[in-house]
């Protein structure tokens, strides 16, 4: 049988493909719909939070921080309730990470504040002595990309029926409405911050990356 295959590259390739494709179909498909269902109370990200999530991805925060609390007492003691599948229903992409050089951030919004994040991003050692996290000063000067965040929210609403603009769900509206809402959402965060650069930019109607990423981190609960 194999001798025959080795002289027939076409059938050989077909045989290889069938053998390797099999496992993916069996393991991924059966629970696909089930895993896509949100837990009650889970909401999609607002445009500002999404812009913060993009900043998180841009600097590969997920290279060192996980967002997955495993069901062990040592983890629930440290980070809070273990993760449920439905809590991730609006995470595109997922950001579980594969390495904990720094602590898990799945529920960081429960125990850190805007003020803490601001100091920590400027100079991690000032807040956590011994920290090996880099400084993220550029987040205080780079603008948050609200437009791309809106584009993504608009896309997932349209293509995947993510429930924006539904009762008890974040409002998306038009791009103009969304920018206004993002500014309104950013306002209390900027007020809690002390950076004159960020405050001056906000007075001009500009939201910095740091504001967006803090909005995102505060939303992780």
């Amino acid at each position: 049988m194999f001798h025959w295959l080795e002289k027939n590259p076409f059938f050989f390739a077909v045989a290889v493909f069938v053998v390797i494709a099999y496992a993916g179909i069996v393991t991924i498909l059966p629970d696909f719909m089930n895993s896509a269902r949100p837990v009650v109370g889970t909401k999609p990200y607002t445009v500002l939070q999404l812009a913060g999530r993009h900043a998180y991805i841009k600097d590969s925060c997920n290279a060192c921080h996980s967002q997955l609390i495993r069901p062990f007492k040592s983890e629930t003691d440290r980070y809070g309730m273990y993760s449920l599948s439905g809590e991730y229903a609006y995470d595109r992409p997922f950001l579980w990470g594969s390495k904990r050089t720094g602590p898990d951030l799945m529920r960081v919004g429960n125990y850190r504040t805007t003020d803490w994040h601001e100091n920590h991003m400027l100079d991690p050692i000032s807040v956590v002595p011994g920290s090996i996290m880099p400084k993220y000063t550029h987040m205080f000067s780079n603008p948050a990309n609200i437009e791309t965040a809106y584009a993504e929210a608009f896309t997932i609403k349209k293509v995947f029926n993510v429930p924006y603009d539904k009762a008890d769900m974040p409002k998306l509206g038009t791009y103009e409405e969304a920018t206004k809402m993002a500014l309104a959402e950013a306002k209390p965060i900027v007020e809690d911050m002390k950076s004159p650069e960020v405050k001056a930019a906000f007075a001009r109607g500009e939201i910095k990356e740091i504001v967006a990423i803090i909005a995102y981190l505060n939303s992780l609960k």
Partner: protein
């Protein structure tokens, strides 16, 4: 069979990809050394503003070594081995010749796009699939061109039976194509909304499903880039260099089909104790253990190929690299399944033991095999004697020391970290705050950086040796039969 000696194989594309392998190898390993030292000395993050932080450089390191060093090594060896085992020269087909050259140029363009976009922070965040959709399309085109080259050459072959290496190259082509396409399914947001960055896209899968697809890809990228094509290389280069026939045809059959079937189930072991269904986790764990069989099948087949000829290990540094590579392969394919056992994974997951495991596979198995392949090809492609045996010996020991420092420090670091995360005091409270588990690792991070640096130094020695071979090596009258000719 007589005619085979008269075929004039054309190595121009193989040479181009060999140069790319070496250059991208140096770049990728250098970035690796930098980020390794950043973990020991965080001030090193501030050298190049936002473009020099660990977060920006880490994907650049993984992608440059995987898709730069490794994939050009795969292409280079294919353009060398393919012609020889199919007994047909690329020069016989102007179409395949042109295709090969365009393949190389496009590949370089995509490399440039990848480096630029990752430095700018344009990434999808999925590990080893960070590229946004325009680059993904470029990668698909490159891959299809490679497929055309494989099947085109097979189409005009003289030797009707496909040699084992060709099975593995075909599997690499098909496996990566399937995995890459499905994992990178995304919707460009600009085309739906008319707003924002045109290159931005959003994943077709959300949350747990996205994780499942990603690690089905992520783990099997290891299978079809780190394992399958490297086995293709060793099945060709070890018998060629040693002059020994492959120990067992049946064992190679069992290993090939076994590896193809079993590997794809194991991806879920990256998601143990996560929110993916429990049965998927258990299945992944079991199949990871079963995976020892086909992996060791190949490795043992290689070791037994040297039966009765072990003195070559002493005499020929190329054999030494290849035998060390298969030994690291055995080591790494035993360590992986151990980490996939649920109770071990509970400790090892998220710790430095995982990058430690990856690197004994990549540095020991993949790196050594590609180095041996390039050294074997050099005298045949450039018709010159290898420049220096002494340099190869030195390189071997420098790099081996580097690997040992790397994985042993990461074992200790990983297990220390895992134990400290779960340690409790007499009242059942957590004994350590998170930062305690970071600062304690400083010495191991330093040792790991030194290990990586040694490996890089060895690679630079290799580069020098390769360069001198093609510029100053003694010219050869005819092609060497088995052992590669080398000057002391």
């Amino acid at each position: 069979m007589q005619s085979s000696n008269m075929i004039n194989y054309d190595y121009s594309v193989a040479k181009l990809f060999a140069f790319a392998t070496i250059i991208l190898g140096i770049v990728g390993m250098l970035i690796g050394v930098i980020i390794a030292f950043q973990m020991a000395y965080p001030e090193l993050n501030n050298l190049a503003g936002e473009y020099g932080t660990f977060g920006r450089l880490r994907p650049l390191h993984t992608d440059t070594v995987i898709f730069g060093f490794l994939v050009s090594g795969i292409f280079s060896t294919w353009y060398y081995i393919g012609q020889r085992v199919l007994k047909v020269s690329m020069a016989e087909s102007p179409f395949l010749m042109a295709l090969g050259k365009i393949h190389f140029v496009l590949y370089l363009l995509v490399v440039v796009a990848v480096v630029g976009s990752l430095l700018l922070g344009i990434t999808s965040s999925k590990e080893y699939a960070e590229f946004e959709w325009p680059i993904d399309i470029g990668i698909v085109v490159i891959w299809v061109m490679w497929g055309m080259s494989i099947f085109g050459l097979i189409g005009i072959r003289r030797e009707k039976t496909l040699y084992i290496s060709v099975w593995y190259y075909i599997a690499t082509f098909l496996g990566v194509a399937m995995l890459y396409l499905f994992n990178n399914m995304a919707i460009p947001t600009y085309f739906v909304s008319g707003l924002g960055d045109w290159w931005h896209s959003v994943s077709m899968y959300a949350g747990t499903n996205d994780a499942m697809v990603q690690w089905w890809y992520g783990h099997n990228a290891v299978a079809f880039v780190f394992t399958v094509p490297i086995i293709a290389m060793i099945y060709y280069f070890l018998p060629k260099e040693s002059g020994q026939p492959i120990f067992s045809y049946k064992l190679s059959l069992l290993s090939f089909w076994g590896l193809m079937f079993v590997y794809l189930w194991a991806g879920g072991h990256h998601l143990l104790y996560s929110t993916v269904p429990d049965w998927v986790q258990t299945m992944a764990s079991i199949f990871s253990i079963v995976l020892i069989l086909p992996s060791w099948g190949s490795a043992i087949n290689m070791l037994l190929t040297m039966k009765g000829e072990w003195q070559q290990l002493k005499d020929n540094p190329l054999i030494k690299f290849m035998i060390m590579a298969s030994t690291f392969y055995m080591f790494s394919t035993l360590e992986g399944p151990i980490q996939a056992i649920k109770s071990v994974n509970a400790l090892a997951h998220f710790t430095d033991w995982i990058p430690g495991h990856v690197h004994d596979g990549t540095l020991g198995w993949v790196g050594f095999m590609i180095i041996a392949a390039l050294l074997h090809m050099a005298p045949r492609m450039f018709k010159r004697e290898l420049y220096s045996k002494k340099l190869m010996e030195a390189q071997f020991w420098i790099q081996t020391t580097g690997i040992v420092l790397y994985f042993s420090s990461m074992w200790i670091a990983g297990i220390t970290q895992g134990m400290m995360w779960r340690a409790t005091d007499q009242y059942g409270n957590l004994a350590y705050s998170f930062i305690d588990t970071v600062t304690v690792l400083h010495p191991y991070y330093t040792i790991r950086g030194i290990g990586g640096l040694l490996y890089l130094i060895g690679f630079i020695v290799f580069t020098y040796n390769f360069y001198k071979t093609i510029t100053a090596g003694r010219e050869l009258e005819e092609e060497p039969q088995s052992t590669s000719p080398m000057a002391a």
